[in-house]
C-alpha cells in the first residue's frame, strides 16, 4: 500500500494541478495578509474559503484522479496486490497531496507574517486542521462516487451534487426545519443537525473561535456550552473522524466487490 501511496503522491506532486492549487493558496494567503491590514477579517475570508472551496476541490480532484488513473489501476489489479491497498494507496496519495498544498500554501505566508509570535496561532491551526479533515472527507466521498459510477459524466455530476448538497442545500433544509418547528425546543435538534454535516460542523467550530459574541446571545449559550468546551471539541473531532472512516471503509468494501 505504501508503494502505491508513494507512487500516487509523486505522480500528483509532478502534476500541474497540485502546483496550481498550492500557488492559489499561497497567493490567497499573501494577498489576505499583506494587502489587508485587518487580521480578523483575513481569518474570516479564509474560513469562507476553507469551508466552501476545500470540499469542492477535494471532490473534483478525487473524482478526476480516479477516472484519469483508471487504466493504470486496471494494470495494477492484474498484479498480485491486495485491492484495498491499491485503492487506499491512491486515496491517501490524493488526500495527502491536497492537504499538503493547503497547509503549505496557507501556512507559509502566515509564518512569514509572524504567526508564531501572535496569539492567533490556535485559531489558525484549527483552520488548518478542519481544512485537512474536509479534504480527507471529501476526497473519500469522491472516491466512493467514482467507484460506484462507471460513467464519468454521471460521476462528476453526482460529485458536484454532493458538494452542493452539503455546502448549500443542507443548510436550506436545516433552516426550514428550524423555522417550521420554531414552537418546539430546538437546541438539541440544531446541535445534531450541525454534527451531521461536516461543512456545518467545521464552520461552527471555527466560528466559535472567531465570532463568539453573536453566538453568545440568548440561544448561542448552548452552542458555546457544547462546542466551546473540550468535551464538545472532542465530540466534534470524533464526528469529523467518523466522516473520514465510514467512506474509507466503504471504499475498501466496494473495491473488493467491484468487477473491473
Amino acid at each position: 500500500m505504501l508503494k502505491i501511496l508513494k507512487y500516487s503522491f509523486y505522480d500528483l506532486m509532478r502534476s500541474r494541478w497540485s502546483y496550481v492549487y498550492f500557488a492559489f493558496y499561497l497567493l490567497l494567503g499573501i494577498v489576505l495578509l499583506f494587502l489587508n491590514n485587518d487580521l480578523s477579517k483575513a481569518v474570516i475570508t479564509l474560513m469562507n474559503v476553507i469551508i466552501i472551496l476545500v470540499p469542492l476541490i477535494g471532490t473534483i480532484f478525487g473524482v478526476m484522479y480516479y477516472y484519469n488513473s483508471k487504466e493504470f489501476t486496471e494494470l495494477l489489479l492484474a498484479q498480485p496486490l491486495k485491492r484495498s491497498s491499491i485503492f487506499l494507496g491512491q486515496y491517501l496519495g490524493v488526500a495527502i497531496s491536497l492537504s499538503m498544498s493547503l497547509i503549505l500554501g496557507l501556512g507559509l505566508p502566515f509564518v512569514f507574517y509572524g504567526l508564531f509570535e501572535s496569539s492567533a496561532i490556535w485559531d489558525f491551526s484549527l483552520l488548518l486542521i478542519t481544512g485537512t479533515f474536509l479534504t480527507l472527507i471529501f476526497t473519500a466521498l469522491a472516491f466512493n462516487i467514482a467507484l460506484s459510477n462507471e460513467n464519468k459524466i454521471k460521476g462528476f455530476g453526482y460529485a458536484i451534487l454532493l458538494w452542493l448538497f452539503l455546502a448549500v442545500i443542507y443548510d436550506g433544509i436545516f433552516l426550514l426545519v428550524l423555522i417550521g418547528f420554531e414552537e418546539y425546543p430546538l437546541d438539541k435538534v440544531s446541535l445534531i443537525g450541525t454534527m451531521l454535516n461536516p461543512i456545518d460542523l467545521s464552520r461552527t467550530l471555527i466560528l466559535l473561535k472567531l465570532d463568539i459574541s453573536a453566538l453568545l446571545g440568548y440561544t448561542g449559550a448552548i452552542f458555546k456550552q457544547f462546542f466551546g468546551t473540550n468535551y464538545g471539541l472532542i465530540v466534534s473531532f470524533i464526528a469529523l473522524s467518523l466522516w473520514v472512516i465510514v467512506p474509507v471503509l466503504r471504499i475498501v468494501y466496494k473495491s473488493k466487490k467491484k468487477d473491473f
Binding site: I179, D211, L216
Partner: protein, 411 residues
C-alpha cells in the same frame, strides 16, 4: 461699593476663624466620630485621624466638614447604616467606610444624604457595602473621586453603588464603582452630570436611569457589566463620548434604551458587546459619530421606534449591523460607514453610488427563530441575504443608507 467689598472680606476672613477644628483619634480628647459630631457646632471641621472606628448610625445634622487624614476606617460591623447626612452644606472627605449592614426591608447605605443641599462627598473609599452613596430628595451636590468596591453576586440581595432618588443638579465625577448591583442609579433625578466614571463588573447595570430627565453623562467607561447602561422612561438625556465594552453574555448589551425620547448619543464607542444598543419604544434620538466595533449586533431595534437619525457612525465588523423585528421603518440612516458595504464610488466623492441595506434577512430570521444563529456565515445564508438585498420582502424596503461612506467617518 467699597464698603461692600470690605464687608465681604471681613466675612471671608472671619469665617474660618469662627469655625473650630475638632480632631478625632484614639489618643485625642475626642475618640469617636459620633462624639465629635455631637460636640461640633455648625460649620466646624472634624478631622478624623488614622485608625479604625467601629461606629454606625452617625447622624450629621449640622453643616460640618468631616475630613479623614490618612484614610481612617469607619467600620459599621454590618449593623446598619453608617453616615446619614440630614443637613445642608456637609462635606465628607477621605474616609474609608466598610461593612454596611444588609437588610431586606430597608436600604442601608454607607453614606445617605437626606433632604440636603450643597453637599460634597469626595475621596471616599467604600467596601463591603449594601448601598454605597444614597442621595434622596437632595440637590446641588458633588460626588467626586470615590471608590466603591462591593461584593455583590445576586441581584436580589445587593444594593447600588451610587443611587440618586428625587434629586437635582448632582455632579458625579471620577468615581470607580465595581461589583455592586447597579453602578450608578438615578431615579426621578434631573439635571445631573455624570462624568469620567469607571463602572465595571457590576451584577446588573453600569449606569441606570429611571424617570430621570435632562441628565448628561460623558467620558465614562462601562465594561464587563451585566449590561452597560440602561436608560428607561427618561427624556432629553445626553450621552457623549462614553466607552461601552465587553458587556458580554447571553442577555447583555452595551446600552438599553426603553421609552426614551429626544436623547442625543454622540461620540460613543461600543466594542465587543453581545448587543451594542438595544432600542425599544424610543423616539427622536440622534445617533452621531459613534463607533460600533466587533459587536454581535450593533443595534437591535425591537419596535415602536420613530424618527431616530443615525448619521456618520462607523459600523465595523459586527456580526449584524442592524436588526429589526418588523418591516416598518421610520428611522433615517445617512452617511454612515459600513464595513460590509460592497458598493463602488465612480465619481470619487467619498460616498458610495448604490445605497446600503443594513438589515439582513438573516437577522430577521434569527429574531424569529433564535436557534438559526447556528447557520451564521453559511453559504446558503449568504445567498438568501443577497437575494433579499436585491428585492426586499421581509426586511423594511425603505431602510437604506442612501449615502454610505467609502471610508471610515472621522470627526
Amino acid at each position: 461699593m467699597k464698603k461692600l467689598v470690605v464687608f465681604m472680606c471681613v466675612i471671608l476672613m472671619t469665617g474660618p476663624i469662627i469655625a473650630q477644628t475638632l480632631e478625632v483619634c484614639k489618643t485625642c480628647a475626642i475618640t469617636s466620630v459620633q462624639a465629635a459630631i455631637i460636640q461640633a457646632k455648625a460649620f466646624d471641621t472634624i478631622v478624623v485621624k488614622k485608625g479604625v472606628y467601629k461606629e454606625h448610625n452617625l447622624n450629621v445634622d449640622k453643616p460640618l466638614t468631616i475630613i479623614g487624614r490618612n484614610q481612617p476606617v469607619i467600620d459599621g460591623e454590618l449593623k446598619g447604616e453608617i453616615i446619614t447626612i440630614i443637613s445642608d452644606n456637609v462635606t465628607i472627605d477621605g474616609l474609608m467606610i466598610k461593612n454596611v449592614g444588609t437588610s431586606y426591608t430597608s436600604d442601608y447605605a454607607a453614606i445617605r444624604v437626606k433632604r440636603s443641599k450643597n453637599f460634597t462627598i469626595q475621596n471616599v473609599v467604600l467596601e463591603k457595602l449594601f448601598f454605597g452613596i444614597y442621595v434622596e430628595r437632595s440637590s446641588d451636590g458633588k460626588i467626586l473621586n470615590n471608590k466603591i468596591i462591593g461584593d455583590a453576586v445576586e441581584e436580589y440581595n445587593s444594593g447600588n453603588g451610587i443611587q440618586l432618588w428625587y434629586s437635582k443638579n448632582i455632579q458625579i465625577e471620577n468615581n470607580t464603582v465595581q461589583h455592586v448591583r447597579d453602578g450608578i442609579y438615578l431615579e426621578f433625578s434631573d439635571f445631573c452630570t455624570i462624568k469620567n466614571n469607571l463602572s465595571s463588573l457590576n451584577v446588573r447595570y453600569g449606569l441606570h436611569f429611571m424617570f430621570s430627565n435632562d441628565d448628561v453623562y460623558e467620558d465614562n467607561v462601562f465594561s464587563n457589566n451585566g449590561a452597560g447602561v440602561a436608560v428607561m422612561f427618561s427624556k432629553r438625556i445626553k450621552m457623549y463620548n462614553n466607552l461601552f465594552k465587553d458587556n458580554w453574555g447571553t442577555a447583555s448589551y452595551g446600552m438599553l434604551l426603553k421609552e426614551i425620547n429626544d436623547a442625543e448619543i454622540i461620540g460613543n464607542t461600543f466594542h465587543d458587546n453581545t448587543i451594542g444598543i438595544s432600542i425599544e419604544g424610543s423616539n427622536r434620538i440622534i445617533y452621531k459619530h459613534n463607533n460600533f466595533r466587533n459587536n454581535g449586533w450593533a443595534i437591535k431595534v425591537r419596535g415602536a421606534c420613530y424618527t431616530n437619525t443615525f448619521t456618520e457612525n462607523n459600523f465595523l465588523y459586527n456580526s449584524f449591523d442592524i436588526a429589526y423585528n418588523s418591516n416598518v421603518n421610520d428611522n433615517t440612516f445617512d452617511r454612515n460607514y459600513w464595513s460590509s458595504y460592497t458598493g463602488y464610488d465612480l465619481n470619487k466623492n467619498g460616498i458610495g453610488d448604490i445605497p446600503y441595506r443594513p438589515v439582513k434577512l438573516f437577522s430577521y430570521i434569527v429574531n424569529r427563530t433564535p436557534e438559526t444563529i447556528i447557520l451564521l456565515r453559511s453559504m446558503f445564508i449568504d445567498i438568501i441575504d443577497f437575494s433579499e438585498k436585491v428585492s426586499p420582502v421581509f426586511t423594511p424596503d425603505d431602510l437604506l443608507d442612501n449615502n454610505p461612506l467609502m471610508k471610515k467617518a472621522i470627526w
